[in-house]
Amino acid sequence: MENFTPWSALAGGALLGLSASLLMLFSGKVAGISGIIGGLLAPQKGEFTWRLAFAVGMVGSLFLLKPFSIDLPDLVSQPSVYIILAGLLVGFGTRLGNGCTSGHGIIGLGRFSKRSIAATSVFMIVAALVVLLRQQFGVL
């Protein structure tokens, strides 16, 4: 528990909630990141520009935070094959399951959606199992 950071986690989380509320209240859109990326790959009329603007904002946020000495962490290097496999699974799974940690984990849970409660439970449990296999049993 030595790296426990509840306050920055709460503050960052509150920003995510604020973002999702703003986008939905104003324009009725779900701030689900996998859905936004998926929509950029298969553009629909009237649904492309706002998604692009959201994506630009997400990427740009780093440069707005840097003057306040907030930066990305150094990444621990992992074999590329894990990164590629992880990317494929995340992309495939989020489209099949219609959402990720944001769409299901924040907006869906906040709306008390049964689908999102089920999806969030499943991806949390499976992710924890994968970590358990790797960390405790040295598999993978």
């Binding site: 426990f4 960052g12 104003f26 009725g28 904002g57 495939f92 099949l96 990720c100 991806f123």
Partner: protein
Amino acid sequence: MLKVIIALISGILFGAGMIISAMVDPTKVIAFLNVTGNWDPSLAFVMGGALAVFTPCYHLLIKKRSHALNGDKFSWTSNTKIDRTLLSGAAIFGAGWGLAGFCPGPAMASIGGGSTTIFIFIISMLIGIVLAKQYLQGRLPFIGRRKKGCAV
């Protein structure tokens, strides 16, 4: 135009939230998922903070409205069925998330760092998304046809 500006502001808030909360740190994500090991519960507070803001906003401000402030319809799905497609998708996503500690939001917020790892992850994720669309439309060889998915 206002819709685009609101989306841009929401995107900035979302990206900032990902970075400030440390969701962008795969080590932190893995430490959160490592329930039986040296567990770091921080990321539960990210979800807690997000839900503490979004849940009341949704139930008190948004739910009772017939349309969004700009006149558009709300784009959530009316689908309430928990089917095999949803659950297998969530399981596949969970496996990928647990493997490397990246999910789509943090990966997007990390692009500006210029890391090759993030680049490789995002390209693979885009390929995964395209493959899923093909699969849902029954266009992948070797796997049977499935009905089309819809938004969350």
